[in-house]
Each structure stands twice: as structure tokens, then as C-alpha cells.
């Protein structure tokens, strides 16, 4: 693999910021879509920036992710093509979610350019708010050491944290106080030209370090998944797993993929029944829990999201009750995606499996059932 290696003179955020500033100054982009620290300092928000002054204050690599980038980008581009050329700096899971949403016509990718970077993971938002300074310092160490403790649980089991499977235009890697610029798409050549970079440096060392890390994360992940598999076996265990849920639907609201205008589980048809109806159900079951439809909500959402879930863990981050909902979605998503040999957001051209009908898929299913 070849790319461009640059020494980091100040800090990571500044190094990336300098690249972005050059690209905007040289008029390759009209605006930048990137996280900025909010004035009260304890959180970050995505900002669409046209003003060069504000560019100074960006944090391309924030230690936390209060809003998933694809969710933010959806609001910007849902109604069609942009005339502005926008540069988006996002984590791999955010870019994959954006591409997945493009397949669902919720994001228009024209005129958007994506930079991804080696994602060290993020800290849980609720934790970060408590002492931002501590975590700001920590994230730098995390990047250096690639440790997983204290991170959002989904980040510690993420296996798509680098350029693999991420359809960005350009990927930025970190290795031993160096930035590595790795051109991914055809578009990236123009960017390198403007920066007067040539992709001639050997990236093998970085690649090896990523592979070592990937191996470790894969192991973490299969350990975690087998644990989850046991924890959620059967309807009773599953009930137990979601027992803390207060039905606030935050997980749905922060999910980048959940794209319905009105959630089906909040529609009058599904969520408001006559008292008589509830009485009838209570009579059948001996009693029903209120608010009702808690399990149906999670199972329904899982059913809708499993094929497209990028495993970012935003749902769990948004849960006020610490239900490990992100982990189970990641686990189930992985199982379902394996079945269809599909990785959400990896490739814009690949249709969502729900939309392709292959008769032999049914036979496959019959056959495996028979074998069992």
C-alpha cells in the first residue's frame, strides 16, 4: 500500500485541520461538515461551515459522539442534490451509515466528499460530560496505545474502524506521531494534487499495526458475542435483557439508520388501544406490563434495522437506563448480515438484500433446516 506520510508537529486535530484549511482555501470545497466543540465545552455538534474563521475551531477527531454523523447529514441532504461541494470528516461507522441511508434515499451523496480516519473509538457521552478535560487528554493516549477500556462498548468490539469496508474518498491513518494519507477513491487524486502530495510512501508498517489491532478486536468481539448469545437465549432471557427499558424510544431517535418520519411504534394504530383491548390481553396473559409494547418495539426495530445496522452503538449511548441495546443490535445485525453476505454501507452499488429476491435463497433456507 502506498500513501503519503506526514509528521505531526502539533497535535492530531490541528494536523487534520491544516489539511482541511488548505483544501478550502484552494477552493476545492465550498463548505465543510465537521464536529465542533460547543461553547460550553462539554460536548460537540456537527457544523456546516462556510466561514473560514470558524474553521479554526473545528475538532475533526472528537473524543465523543453525541450525534451520529449520518443522522446529521440526513437532515442536510434528504431533499436532494446539493449545489455546494461539501467535505465531510467522519468516522468509518458514520460514513457507512451515510451510504446505507443513500440506498434508502434519505441522503444524497452527490457533491459530498468523505474523509475517514482510524477511529480509536469514543467515550460514552454521559461519562464525557462529567469531566471533559480528563477525557480530552485520555483520547490522545488511547490513540497512541489503542486501548479499549472505558470506551463505548460497541467501539471496543468494532472491527471496521479503519479503511477496510469504508467507502470514503480518502482515509487518514495514525502511526507513531505521523499522519498517513491513503487515497481510496478516484476523487482523491485531485485532493492529493492540490495538497501537492504524492502517494509514494510505503504504508506497510501502519497496515501491519492495523491488522494486529484488528485481530485483537475480532477476538474481543467473538468473546462478547458468545456471551450475548447466552444472555439472550429464549424469550425469558430476552425479557430480562431489556428489563430496564423505560420505553423512552431514545435508542430509535439517535439511531442514524432509523429513518421513518414517524416511528411505527409511536403511531396511533400501534400504540393506542382501547382499554378494553388491554383488558382482553391482560385476561389472556394473566397481566400485561405498562407502558405496553416494550418488547415488540425492540424486536420490531431489530427486525427493521438488522440488515442496515452499522454497529455504531449510538442507541446504547443514548439510553438513560444503560440497557446494552447497542451490543445486542450489533450481535443480531452481524448474524443477519452474514446470512445475506452483506455489510451495510460498504458499497453504494450493492442493493439492500430485502430488495432483491432470489428464489434459491428460499431453497438455501429449506436445505439448512432439513440438515438440522
Amino acid at each position: 500500500m502506498k500513501g503519503k506520510i506526514i509528521e505531526i508537529k502539533s497535535d492530531l486535530n490541528t494536523a487534520i485541520k491544516n489539511i482541511i484549511k488548505t483544501l478550502v482555501q484552494k477552493k476545492l470545497f465550498d463548505a465543510v461538515f465537521v464536529p465542533v466543540r460547543i461553547p460550553s465545552r462539554e460536548s460537540f455538534a456537527y457544523l456546516l461551515i462556510k466561514d473560514k474563521e470558524i474553521l479554526e475551531s473545528i475538532t475533526p477527531l472528537p473524543p465523543t459522539m453525541p450525534v451520529q454523523g449520518a443522522r446529521a447529514l440526513k437532515d442536510l441532504t434528504r431533499l436532494g442534490k446539493l449545489n455546494l461541494r461539501i467535505l465531510c470528516i467522519m468516522r468509518p461507522c458514520e460514513i457507512r451509515a451515510a451510504v446505507e441511508l443513500a440506498k434508502l434515499r434519505q441522503i444524497t451523496l452527490q457533491n459530498l466528499t468523505f474523509f475517514s480516519f482510524d477511529c480509536p473509538g469514543v467515550f460514552p457521552t454521559a461519562e464525557y460530560i462529567k469531566s471533559p478535560e480528563k477525557y480530552d487528554q485520555n483520547i490522545i493516549e488511547k490513540i497512541k496505545a489503542w486501548q479499549e477500556d472505558g470506551l463505548r462498548p460497541n467501539c471496543s468490539i468494532c472491527v471496521n474502524f479503519s479503511h477496510y469496508n469504508t467507502p470514503a474518498d480518502l482515509h487518514i491513518g495514525f502511526y507513531r506521531n505521523h499522519l498517513l494519507i491513503y487515497p481510496v477513491s478516484k476523487n482523491s487524486q485531485k485532493i492529493l494534487d492540490i495538497l501537492s502530495y504524492r502517494a509514494e510512501d510505503d504504508l506497510t508498517e501502519w497496515e501491519n499495526s492495523i491488522n494486529t489491532l484488528l485481530k485483537k478486536k475480532k477476538e474481543n468481539r467473538s468473546r462478547k458475542f458468545s456471551l450475548l448469545s447466552n444472555q439472550t437465549k429464549g424469550i425469558e432471557n430476552l425479557e430480562e435483557f431489556f428489563t430496564g427499558c423505560i420505553n423512552c424510544h431514545n435508542c430509535m431517535r439517535v439511531c442514524p439508520i432509523c429513518y421513518c418520519r414517524q416511528c411505527f411504534f409511536e403511531s396511533p394504530e400501534q400504540s393506542h388501544h382501547e382499554a378494553e383491548e388491554y383488558l382482553a390481553r391482560a385476561k389472556e396473559k394473566g397481566g400485561i406490563r405498562f407502558p405496553p409494547e416494550r418488547m415488540v418495539f425492540h424486536l420490531g426495530r431489530m427486525n427493521h434495522m438488522a440488515l442496515s445496522c452499522v454497529g455504531c452503538g449510538s442507541c446504547e449511548d443514548g439510553c438513560p437506563m444503560d440497557v446494552p441495546v447497542g451490543q445486542i443490535f450489533s450481535f443480531i445485525g452481524n448474524e443477519v448480515q452474514k446470512m445475506f453476505d452483506y455489510l451495510p454501507g460498504k458499497n453504494l452499488e450493492e442493493p439492500i438484500p430485502l430488495l432483491t429476491f432470489k428464489e434459491d435463497e428460499l431453497h438455501e433456507y429449506e436445505d439448512t433446516r432439513e440438515k438440522k
Binding site: R105, C260, R261, Q262, E269
Partner: protein, 547 residues
């Protein structure tokens, strides 16, 4: 609470003997949702229908559940009775306790239990039905027939009637493949005479307008209201408003240039059956020995073309007619001669001295045929002329029209029928039928039968002076909920859904929608909804069934 009437039909002995209807009555009686249970020996009979109508009026039923045969058989019958009795026919649920219980569960006790569950489910569902309105739209009864081969001509003649314009468009001369034939098997009548008579008929028919050497440039719209743009012989553009379309573009004969073992275009005395009948037979004096090789291309395309065996025998007869002393050999792999006339035809051909040789493998050389016979022996035969009986393949324009009309092709490249057995001349798109060689290889008889079938289907679907009744059990999209993700558009089999780009939401064309419910199942937001299979209806039905 609404007054629900339950009717149990004995279907003669069919249901009465296999399901214990007394037990059913006894159990269901306790269900407060049913006002009254009625029973009849044969509800679909005239007497039964009268009984049903009278009972509805007498008891003031507002909703009806009928446990009887398959809805496929008598749902419409009972819906008509309901309409006449002043009830909305969609406040009705039919339970199939004949095919699903009586006929398939031999144990009477189990069949009875199953019937009870199914009836309970219907009773629980019926209260959630909403009255649906049968909608009607303006439509054109006119018909566009594309392709004026014998199938198209026959279709035109059979669809032509007063108050209905028939347009038939042909890119070449009228007549298609029949122009190239000498005679028709098995009767050996003249093909040309028959064709001339038919062409005269359509040209002089007051209701048929013929466009020859014309091209179809564009077709827009849907069943009842299509618009076709045609470029005529003199390069003028004509716009036609039609209600339905019949595709009769035919097929083509296979040209075996790509199969080297048949020696076509390699040796000058090798012809296809088409070339032979169209010109060679008229031009040349026929030589001493002629071999006709069957099944040319069959392995390549993977089907039997149905016509070549009989056609090869017809050629043998034509040869014998012209040159009595010419020796004719038929090299065949499988003989396919079904039908009442053909055993006799085969026998007579053999009696004329035509020799039949079965081959396993064949290689055509210069004035000779090397072949491996049925009993695995390598043999060789010297011949003066070779005729290749080639199979039938889809015509070159098939793909063009499939794209233009958005209808699917089958694995072989012919137009795909809606159902090979039950709907062989319809396509999945309402208002577009197919007939003749574009549907698959077939002989003249089959093509004429299909012409009749597609004509009948078209005539009965759009009647001059009447508005088009549109399926009431369709799907709808809730504007306020739809996010325009387009999932429904991509799963819709009938092309009934499109995205309204200005509103960024999906919209249903109710004429095209056949209520399959794919969209309702695929829509994550619940914006797509089936009017007669709402979540509530399905939920209540299942809840009672599984209780």
C-alpha cells in the same frame, strides 16, 4: 356491537361428512361476537343464495362470515348476494373449511378442531373490516395489437367489434412467417391462400386499422388508458389512445451458424428448413438424396421447439410431391408428435418411403453425414443435400418491448406469462396480453388458440361504454408518514408505485395495484397499508386462531 351472522355450508357431503358441523355450532355458539349461526346444505346453489339473502334481511346482519369452500371458488358469488342484500361486500370473511379442513385432514376430530379455529379467527377479524368502495375510472375499449403475423391478424379479427377500434401495427409486411411457408401440416393446405384470405379480411374490416411498415416509438400509461406513439410508413407520427395491448410479435427460427458440427454456411448444400421451404424448393431441381436433420439448436437453448418434427415431415412430403424419386432421410434425436392427427401423419409419411434414423451425435461433412446411431455405432451416409430443422427462438424485438412495457422475460428470452398453466396469455401487467410465438415455440394451432384466448380476455376486461372497475382491495400510502425511501417501489411487482419527487413520497396507482401487499410488508414506517389486510385485521385474526 355489530350484528355478525355466521353461515356454515355443508357443501353437500363434502364438508358435512368430514367436519362435525354440530360440534362447530355448539362451540361457536358461546362466542358473544356472533349473533346467529345458520346452516345450509349448499350455499352456492340458487336456493342457498336465496336463503343467504333472506337471512341477512330477516336478521339484520351487518357483517357476514361464511365457512364453506375456497374463496377462489365462491367469494365473488357471496359478495354479489351481499351487495344485492344491501351490505357492503367487504364486510365479509370467507373461511375455507373444505380445501383446508375437510379435504386434507382425514381425522374428523382434528378437521373439526381446525375448522373451529379458522372460524373463530374470521369472527374476530370481521369486526375490524372497513367497508371498501368499488372505484371506477374512464377508459378506452380500443386495442393495440403489435405484430401482424398470423397470430396478430387472428387476434385482430377476433377482437374487432362495433364501438371498438382495433389498431394493428407491423414493422414489415403483413403475414409474418406464413409468407415464407408453402403449406401447412398436417392437412397440407396452401399457406399463401390462407394468409391472403386473412389479410384481405383485416384490411377490409371497418373496425380494424392496419399500420404496416410502422414502428412503435413509445407507450405510456396503464390498463384502460395507454397512449402509444407510432411512426407510420410515410414517417408521420400518430398518437393512439388505447385501453389494452396484445403483443403478437412472434419468434424467429434459429440460425445455426454458431454450431460448427452442422456445417451451415460451410457447405453450399446445407440449408435451414426455413430457407429450403421459402426458396430452395422453388429454384432448384431436387437431387437424389436429401437428409433432414432435426433438433438443431435444441441442446443450446434447452427446450424442444414443438414444431420441427411435424414440419420436417411436411418438408419430406413437399419433396416427394415435387420429385418422387428423391430419397429422404429424417435424422432425429427425439420424435415429438403429440396430438390426434399426428400418428396418422407420421405413418403416411413413412409409407411414402421416407426413412427415419435416430442419432445420438451428428457431424455434417461435405456431402455426407457422420453420426453415432441409437445403438452406439459410428456410421456414415452420403447425401446430396442437407436441411437443418432449426428450433424457434425469441424475436429480436422481444427485449425492446419488454423494456418499453416493463414486462418480464422468461429464462429463454420469451415474454413471461403470468402463470404457465392458469394465465398463459396474460402478463403481470394488467391490460397487456401475449399470444403466439413471442410467448414460446408453438405451431399455428396453438397460436390461433392463444389469439382467441387473448382476444377473449381483452374483450371481457374492457367493455365499450362501461367504466373500468378497479380492484378495491388495494394498498394505500399515508402521505404524512411516508419518508420516500423507495423500498415499496422496488418490491412492487406490478409497477404500481412511483416516487413523487416533488414531495419525496411514494404514490400508488390504484389501477395497477392488485393488492398483493408486498409494499405494506416491506414499508418500515407503516406508511404503506393494505386496505383489507390492516395490521389490526391480521393481528385479531391470528390472535383468535392461536388462542
Amino acid at each position: 356491537m355489530t350484528k355478525v351472522g355466521l353461515f356454515l355450508c355443508e357443501c353437500g357431503p363434502n364438508i358435512a361428512e368430514a367436519v362435525d358441523l354440530d360440534k362447530v355450532t355448539e362451540v361457536i355458539k358461546g362466542d358473544k361476537k356472533v349473533a346467529l349461526i345458520e346452516r345450509h346444505r349448499l350455499l352456492c346453489s340458487e336456493d342457498g343464495k336465496k336463503f343467504l339473502a333472506e337471512s341477512i334481511k330477516k336478521n339484520g346482519f351487518e357483517r357476514i362470515v361464511i365457512a364453506a369452500c375456497s374463496p377462489k371458488q365462491h367469494e365473488n358469488t357471496f359478495m354479489e348476494v351481499m351487495t344485492r342484500a344491501g351490505l357492503n361486500p367487504y364486510l365479509f370473511q370467507m373461511v375455507n373449511i373444505r380445501e383446508q379442513c375437510a379435504w386434507m385432514t382425514p381425522d374428523k376430530e382434528l378437521a373439526t378442531q381446525k375448522a373451529i379455529r379458522l372460524i373463530r379467527a374470521a369472527i374476530n377479524r370481521i369486526n375490524y373490516h372497513t367497508p371498501l368502495k368499488q372505484k371506477e375510472i374512464e377508459c378506452s375499449p380500443d386495442v393495440l395489437i403489435i405484430g401482424a403475423g398470423i397470430t396478430g391478424i387472428e387476434t385482430a379479427l377476433r377482437t374487432a367489434q362495433k364501438n371498438r377500434n382495433i389498431y394493428i401495427v407491423e414493422k414489415n409486411e403483413l403475414g409474418g412467417v406464413l409468407n415464407r411457408l408453402q403449406s401447412l401440416y398436417p392437412g397440407m393446405q396452401s399457406a399463401r391462400e390462407l394468409l391472403q384470405k386473412k389479410i384481405k379480411e383485416i384490411k377490409s374490416h371497418p373496425e380494424i386499422k392496419v399500420f404496416q411498415k410502422s414502428k412503435i416509438k413509445e407507450i405510456l400509461g396503464f390498463f384502460g388508458n395507454f397512449i402509444a406513439r407510432i411512426e407510420t410508413e410515410d414517417k408521420k407520427e400518430v398518437k393512439l389512445n388505447i385501453g389494452s395491448i396484445i403483443l403478437t410479435i412472434g419468434g424467429e427460427t434459429f440460425v445455426p451458424a454458431e454450431l460448427p458440427n452442422f456445417g451451415y454456411k460451410k457447405f453450399e448444400n446445407v440449408f435451414t428448413a426455413d430457407e429450403f421451404e421459402n426458396s430452395v424448393i422453388n429454384k432448384e431441381n431436387l437431387p437424389q438424396t436429401i437428409a433432414i436433420v432435426h433438433c438443431v439448436g435444441r441442446e443450446k437453448f434447452g427446450y424442444c421447439s414443438k414444431i420441427c418434427c411435424a414440419n420436417s415431415m411436411k418438408l419430406a412430403r413437399l419433396i416427394k410431391e415435387k420429385s418422387k424419386n428423391t430419397k429422404v432421410f429424417q435424422f432425429y434425436k427425439e420424435l415429438c408428435l403429440p396430438g390426434k392427427e399426428y400418428d396418422q401423419f407420421y405413418k403416411e409419411t413413412k409409407e411414402q418411403g421416407v426413412e427415419f434414423i435416430r442419432y445420438k451425435n451428428i457431424e455434417i461433412g461435405d456431402h455426407k453425414i457422420d453420426y453415432i446411431s441409437e445403438d452406439e455405432i459410428k456410421q456414415s451416409l452420403s447425401v446430396d443435400m442437407i436441411i437443418l430443422s432449426t428450433g424457434l427462438v425469441p424475436g429480436k424485438d422481444t427485449q425492446y418491448f419488454a423494456n418499453l412495457l416493463n414486462i418480464p422475460l422468461d429464462d429463454y428470452g420469451f415474454f413471461k406469462e403470468e402463470h404457465i398453466k392458469l394465465a398463459p396469455v396474460s402478463t403481470i401487467t394488467e391490460g397487456i396480453s401475449i399470444a403466439g410465438g413471442c410467448q414460446g415455440p408453438q405451431d399455428l394451432n396453438d397460436a390461433v388458440i392463444q389469439a382467441g384466448a387473448s382476444a377473449g380476455r381483452t374483450l371481457s376486461s374492457l367493455i365499450p361504454g362501461r367504466r373500468l372497475q378497479v380492484e378495491a382491495k388495494t394498498c394505500e400510502i399515508a402521505d404524512s408518514i411516508c419518508v420516500g425511501c423507495g423500498v415499496c417501489v422496488r418490491v412492487c411487482t406490478y409497477g404500481a408505485l412511483t416516487i413523487d419527487e416533488s414531495k419525496h413520497i411514494s404514490v400508488v396507482n390504484e389501477v395497477l395495484c392488485r393488492g398483493c401487499g408486498n409494499c405494506a410488508a416491506a414499508c418500515p414506517s407503516g406508511a404503506a397499508r393494505h386496505r383489507h389486510f390492516t395490521n389490526q385485521e391480521i393481528y385479531q385474526e391470528e390472535r383468535a386462531m392461536l388462542k
